[in-house]
């Protein structure tokens, strides 16, 4: 379990992480979502003690990371797959981790096998690795100590579709066996498919967090109609906010039943009406981050959000 309480980190006058609090629970994959530069990586570096927070605390399994006697056996960390000595082979990089943790030597070959790096690839220097291979090596390094907690920063970067599916299965399985996974991404679909809980961050502040199912439910309905303007007016009169989608669609901040009743009362035929599940998170994400980018954070967070 990972617990972050009121963590703030400033650089001069710039606040990279602003009063961030959230938890990642055992048995669940927590998706840490935000655009580039939102403060995801800084928050993760603070969790593992590479960056000192200006204020606030972060604990892993109830202890400060730096107080863990042998952190590799408790927390698997992958912050940047490219941050490796380019002159070392993949096998040597795993060997260094295996030595630090005091693990038996055969763990190295086991992990190479787990992440599907062939013996030939493992004997090549990391300089010659593709980003996808570096990610696999990084995941192997994170898992070699058989930790209870995984912290992965953008692990899907550079993986091919088959690799992404493989990693998704690996992390799902890991969480189902009781592990805690904190996974960051700016790739909405990747997070949406795998995460149980979501923490959305924009400009250093948490803009929404909660169970994925709750956040999606609050994301409204997609409605397509023959006369968008009339429906839009009717929605506003009923106190429902909306945003345009495509040529003839609307994303209404209400459930499908309510939207259907409003359109029926307005006498406008609908072409399509459905819960916004698929596109919902993306809409929410863009909306929330756009709000913080305009620096006008509204107080009415989406229903279910525990900000």
């Amino acid at each position: 379990m990972i617990t972050i309480e009121s963590v703030t980190r400033t650089y001069g006058g710039f606040t990279a992480v602003d009063d961030v609090s959230f938890s990642a629970w055992p048995g669940r994959v927590t998706g840490f979502l935000g655009p580039n530069g939102a403060g995801k990586s800084t928050t993760m570096r603070i969790i593992v003690g590479l960056t000192r927070p200006t204020s606030g605390t972060a604990t892993v399994s109830g202890r400060s990371y730096v107080d863990l006697p042998n952190p590799g056996l408790e927390v698997g960390v992958l912050l940047d797959a490219s941050a490796q000595h380019a002159g070392r082979t993949g096998r040597e990089i795993l060997t260094v981790a295996q030595r630090f943790m005091g693990l038996p030597r055969n763990r190295v070959e086991e992990m190479l096998d787990l992440v599907s790096l062939t013996p030939q690839e493992a004997s090549r220097r990391v300089r010659d690795y593709s980003l996808g291979m570096r990610q696999r090596l990084g995941i192997a390094t994170a898992l070699i100590g058989d930790p209870e907690v995984l912290i992965l920063d953008e692990p899907a970067n550079g993986l091919d579709p088959a690799g992404i599916r493989w990693m998704r299965g690996l992390l799902r399985d890991y969480a189902d066996r009781g592990g805690t996974v904190l996974l960051s991404s700016h790739l909405l679909h990747e997070i949406e498919v795998i995460a149980d809980d979501l923490v959305v961050i924009g400009n250093g502040r948490i803009v929404a967090q909660g169970a994925k199912s709750e956040l999606l439910r609050s994301a409204g309905s997609i409605v397509r109609t023959t006369d968008r303007e009339v429906v839009a007016r009717a929605l506003i009169e009923s106190g429902v906010t909306w945003s345009p989608v495509g040529e003839d669609g609307l994303l209404a901040q209400a459930d499908a039943e309510q939207v259907g009743k409003i359109a029926f009362a307005a006498g406008i035929p609908l072409i399509e009406l459905r819960p916004a599940d698929g596109a919902g998170l993306e809409e929410m994400f863009l909306e929330l981050t756009a709000e913080t980018q305009r620096d006008t954070i509204s107080d009415n967070h989406p229903e279910g959000a525990v900000a």
């Binding site: 863990l68 030595r99 058989d146």
Partner: protein, 271 residues
């Protein structure tokens, strides 16, 4: 959890929630791992191999080119020792700066969050390398002296005492620690290596120039010029005053900047 448990454990943990207590990482294990890291890269391997190759080349050169009356143990030891005074500090520099220049510190300082222990381990393994390789160089030099004089048909001259050998080891360890200090302070491979060359090749010349032209500096030099104080170590036993010079200059040029650099490194953000 014992190591056998880890070996037989499934690849992904089956349960969690119960806080497990692991034993801490002993400094000895960090040190052997850091030692391993010094030579498992291409650059590290060739630097170590370079010491051996240059020692053999230097020995061969002395045998081929030195006149018979200069076939002494000092000639061999000097020829072999000179490249080592360059390579050993570079090994120390790269051991430190690689964590930043190659960004491997992201992993190292995550696996061992107490950075002081990582740097202690690096310092121990660097000094360890010096203490092992320098006597090895002396041995190659001795072999060269025996072979060279036999080829020339003259008697071998053993003109270095045990004290000489020990002070030369000390001089090399100090040079290596200067490299280590520059690595900690500058945290960039290129920057630290350039700084080392400025320190060991450019500054002595400037100091010499200054001492010959300025009387006040001539008197001050032994107290402020670390390189000058170290060079006495190559010339035999030191007097009490020379030891004092060495201690004072080492404090100024080694201990203070190293302390400063370590203080910064403990706090610095690793990206």
């Amino acid at each position: 959890m014992t190591t056998t448990d880890i070996a037989s454990a499934p690849l992904v943990r089956t349960s969690s929630g119960t806080p497990t207590t692991h034993r801490g990482i002993p400094l000895s294990r960090i040190t052997t791992t850091e030692l391993h890291k010094m030579f498992d890269t291409r650059s590290g391997f060739w630097l170590l191999a370079g010491i051996g190759i240059l020692a053999l080349l230097a020995t061969a050169a002395v045998i081929l080119f030195a006149p018979d009356n200069e076939l002494t143990y000092t000639s061999f030891a000097t020829a072999i020792g000179t490249p080592m005074t360059v390579i050993l500090p570079i090994i120390a520099i790269l051991s430190v700066t690689g964590e930043w220049s190659q960004r491997s510190g992201l992993t190292s300082f995550t696996l061992v969050p107490h950075r002081g222990r990582v740097f202690a381990a690096k310092a121990i393994s660097c000094v360890g390398v010096a203490v092992v390789t320098i006597p090895l160089a002396f041995a190659i030099g001795a072999l060269g002296n025996v072979v060279g004089t036999a080829i020339a048909g003259v008697d071998p001259v053993w003109d270095l005492t045990v004290t000489n050998l020990l002070t030369i080891v000390l001089a090399n360890v100090l040079g290596l620690l200067v490299g280590f200090m520059l690595g900690v302070l500058i945290r960039s491979s290129a920057g630290a290596i350039v700084a080392y060359f400025v320190y060991s090749f450019l500054l002595p010349g400037l100091a010499l120039l200054l001492a010959t032209s300025q009387g006040w500096f001539r008197d001050l030099q032994p107290w402020v010029d670390f390189h000058y104080a170290q060079s006495a170590l190559f010339d035999g036993a030191l007097t009490a005053q020379q030891w004092t010079h060495l201690g004072v200059t080492a404090a100024i040029w080694l201990v203070i900047p190293l302390t400063l650099g370590l203080g910064l490194v403990m706090r610095a953000e690793v990206k």
